[in-house]
């Protein structure tokens, strides 16, 4: 039983981080496309942008529901402290996601009416605010949460600092880059060309943001710094920044040489590296700087019961998710829809 209580939270941490990563990547390009509405004003091209994700965004957002539910079930201590701590940005994010989510349908259904502009704007602003909130929450977790007796004991605006704001902007850049490279892959013509241009600029912005966050994070808490500088840790962690630079080079080359898929894959690689770096930094804390994974875990009977179901269901979910992506694969143009 002792072993169980030790290993189950680790297994669950891996699953939860995987679920969050899948969410960040999948809904990342959805939200990025929403933000790119700011740069693309043409209605026909906006329709193409939305059509590349219309059949799949529901499923993408479900990963976020899974993240919340898994945290609630297997790490209730984290769920019960992080959510009150980030109450305001979480509500802001949820409201933004509501606007974004219904705008998929509403912007089409209200076309040629007075309300049309509201939902075009709702899609853009909802995406941007949701992205910023997610980044700010992430930054807030990294910088730490005030805990007394296992419960949140800080103020309503503790999360809002220059660091968390920087993380918010970084995530906005990142999502916009994912969106732009996704569209490079999935569209043609004028739209694809614009996206290549935008992707190049966004990649530079994101690279600068990654550098800034990476330099700032170790200064927040002494254990963070030691994680990256102590011997022999440095041997294992050094490849992360090196790979970031390598992928940046590949991304730039892919954009310039007209590759269709390479830029998107490189952007995904950046996200993977950033999330890995984050994991390396905060491990083994679920709520830095005081609560570890084991402090916030539900009893092994809960974690085990849920693990059995997850082991069976997650592969099935991934299979039909991939299937539904394959049904709608290929370039989308203004001429063809899904009929």
């Amino acid at each position: 039983m002792m072993d169980f209580a030790h290993w189950l939270p680790i297994v669950w941490a891996v699953i939860l981080v995987a679920a969050i990563s899948i969410y960040v990547i999948l809904d990342g390009f959805d939200l990025g496309i929403g933000m790119l509405f700011a740069l693309e004003r043409d209605r026909g091209r906006r329709d193409v942008m939305v059509n590349t994700i219309a059949p799949v965004w529901d499923g993408n957002e479900t990963w976020m529901v899974l993240g919340g539910a898994v945290m609630y079930g297997v790490f209730p201590g984290a769920y019960a402290t992080l959510l009150p701590a980030f109450y305001l940005p979480i509500v802001l994010m949820l409201l933004a996601l509501i606007f974004r989510g219904v705008s998929f349908e509403f912007r089409v259904m209200t076309r040629e009416t007075a309300r049309e502009g509201l939902w075009e704007m709702g899609f853009l602003a909802g995406s941007a605010i949701a992205a910023f909130s997610q980044g700010a929450i992430l930054g807030g977790v990294i910088q730490g949460v005030a805990i007394t007796d296992g419960a949140f004991s800080g103020g309503a605006l503790d999360w809002l600092t220059p660091f968390s704001a920087l993380c918010g902007v970084a995530v906005m850049c990142g999502y916009a880059l994912l969106g732009a490279t996704w569209l490079v892959w999935r569209t043609t013509g004028v739209l694809e060309a614009s996206c290549r241009r935008w992707a190049g600029r966004l990649a530079i912005a994101l690279f600068l943001a990654i550098v800034a966050v990476s330099l700032w994070t170790p200064l927040l808490h002494a254990p963070y710094l030691r994680r990256w500088t102590d011997w022999p840790n440095i041997l294992f962690v050094a490849p992360v920044p090196v790979l970031v630079v390598v992928l940046g080079g590949l991304l730039a080359a892919g954009l310039r040489r007209g590759h269709s898929r390479v830029p998107f894959l490189c952007a995904l690689g950046w996200f993977f590296l950033c999330l890995s770096g984050l994991g390396i930094t905060v491990w083994p804390y679920a709520v830095p700087p005081s609560l570890t994974l084991w402090d916030v875990s539900s009893p092994p009977s809960s974690q085990f019961f849920q693990l059995v179901g997850t082991a069976i269901l997650l592969p099935i979910i991934l299979t039909y998710t991939i299937y539904s992506y394959r049904v709608f694969r290929g370039k989308v143009t203004e001429a063809d829809g899904y009929h």
Binding site: A54, A69, G73, A80, P84, I98, M109, V327, D336
Partner: protein
């Protein structure tokens, strides 16, 4: 007496009630409508009749709107347990959080994964696979209902747990006992039927509206209109009486496990045999009596125990600080029952009209059905108020008080977000309702187009049925 309620707690409760009250309408709508769509597509594949495909394509547009509103309002719920009820989440999460995770993995992904194919994939995957996708979405909605009601019912009648003395957490012992807790089967059947009935009345009212419009234009309503109206009235005639039976059984179950909830629903203060049923009155929690009561002798015992001298509980048998607010659930319960009776009457009326071949030609009946459009949803919401407010003052019945479950959120934050929720929900779901009414205000036509993101103009406005173009409901309302 209870101590003066903490305003932050009240706001946390109100916020949760508001957001879940708005949310619950959409999944109920989706449950009923997805099943209806599966029936329509199945009927089309079996019979090859165009009318079923036309109806499928007509209703799938409404479904895509309703479903997306359900997704976004549901996302809020999966985080609100933690934001508003962090102590509850910490203590009950090992049970309710796990059930919610199973809901996400077995239901939400299934629905979302196949929704894209269902909405946009008819020409990409072939008929058989498309029908399978529709069925997956429909089954997904039912699985989702099953898990969330297991979790909700566990909060009402908790079983299969032990309480950890050190942390006060609920530790799962027996998952089967947790899931199949005593009130779960009753609540599941009652809620499932409520969803089907609510949608039957929306579909019926849509049919009624278009028949009235056709009549005014001197035309005969198109075949799709008549078919949907007829199907909806069959559902009303069959499901409404079944729902009365299911509700009665659920009531008996509640009497057994939560007698004070029944006492508060009935406005009864003293435990007695041969008890009357209070048809109307105003329960007063302070003076412990129900004012202006109109009593029907013996009916209370008869309804609640199915015997004339059965014993009916009164609130005075329970300490004041364990009684739910009777004035709220006394009325919510009566509204629900009243609407149920009306729905049963409409069902029987439809059978009578069918016998005399007047189902499609009785404008009085069509007007009544049109007015009953929201009846199912109002009854469903009143039922939820009854069971959830009736659970008070507990979150986990008899074990964890609502006042001990709340998050440490300051009043100002709660107030700001409450205002934001109200504003956003009014804009978003008000617009959604307007769009839905606009969609349903257009009659289904032969050769109906499906949902298409690429040719949005088809969705609205292009097909106006000759002779039945009329004002659009919801516009200017």
């Amino acid at each position: 007496m209870q101590t003066a309620p903490d305003p932050a707690l009240l706001l946390a409760r109100f916020q949760f009630a508001f957001t879940v009250g708005v949310h619950i309408v959409f999944p109920a709508f989706s449950i009923g409508l997805a099943a209806y769509l599966a029936v329509l597509e199945g009927a089309w594949l079996r019979t090859g009749r165009q009318v079923f495909l036309d109806l499928y394509r007509y209703w799938i547009k409404a479904f895509s709107i309703v479903f997306s509103m359900g997704v976004v309002s549901g996302l809020v719920m999966s985080y609100e347990f933690g934001t508003n009820w962090s102590v509850f989440s910490r203590k009950a999460g090992p049970i309710t959080g796990v059930l919610l995770s199973y809901e996400v993995m077995t239901a939400f992904f299934l629905e979302a994964g196949f929704l894209g194919v269902m909405l946009f994939g008819m020409n990409k995957v072939g008929r058989g696979l498309h029908f399978a996708a529709t069925c997956c979405v429909s089954v997904g909605t039912l699985i989702s209902m099953t898990w969330i009601l297991a979790s909700n019912s566990w909060m009402q009648t908790p079983r299969g747990y032990t309480i950890d003395p050190a942390t006060g957490r609920f530790m799962p012992d027996d998952w089967l006992a947790i899931i199949f807790n005593p009130s779960f089967p009753f609540r599941l059947v009652h809620m499932g039927l409520a969803a089907f009935l609510s949608v039957a009345f929306v579909v019926g009212a849509t049919g009624a509206w278009h028949m009235l419009k056709a009549r005014r234009a001197g035309a005969i309503a198109s075949e799709p209109v008549r078919v949907m109206f007829s199907m909806a009235m069959w559902m009303a005639a069959i499901v409404a009486p079944l729902q009365v039976l299911a509700g009665d059984a659920h009531g008996l179950n509640t009497l057994k496990y939560q007698p004070v909830k029944i006492a508060a629903m009935e406005g009864d203060w003293d435990t007695e045999g041969r008890a009357p049923e209070i048809l109307f009155g105003i329960p007063n929690m302070r003076t412990e009596r129900t004012d202006y009561a109109i009593r029907l002798p013996l009916a209370g015992s008869l309804i609640l125990t199915h015997s004339l001298d059965g014993k009916v509980p009164g609130m005075k048998d329970f300490p004041r600080d364990q009684r739910p607010p009777s004035p709220v659930i006394f009325f919510s319960f009566r509204i629900m029952v009243g609407l149920a009776m009306l729905m049963v009457l409409v069902g029987f009326w439809s059978l009578w009209l069918r016998r005399t071949s007047a189902l499609f030609t009785s404008p009085v009946f069509h007007r009544v059905v049109l007015c009953m459009a929201p009846a199912g949803f109002i009854a469903l919401l009143c039922g939820w108020v009854t069971t959830e407010v009736g659970r008070q003052p507990w979150t986990v019945y008899g074990l964890l008080r609502t006042s001990d479950s709340v998050s440490p959120i300051v009043l100002s934050s709660m107030a700001v977000t409450m205002a934001a929720f109200v504003v956003v929900y009014v804009i978003v779901f008000g617009s959604g309702l307007g769009i839905l009414l606009r969609l349903l205000g257009r009659a289904p036509v032969e050769g109906e187009q499906g949902a298409s993101p690429a040719h949005p103009a088809d969705v609205l406005a292009t097909h106006t049925h000759p002779g039945i173009a009329g004002p659009i409901p919801g516009e200017g309302a």
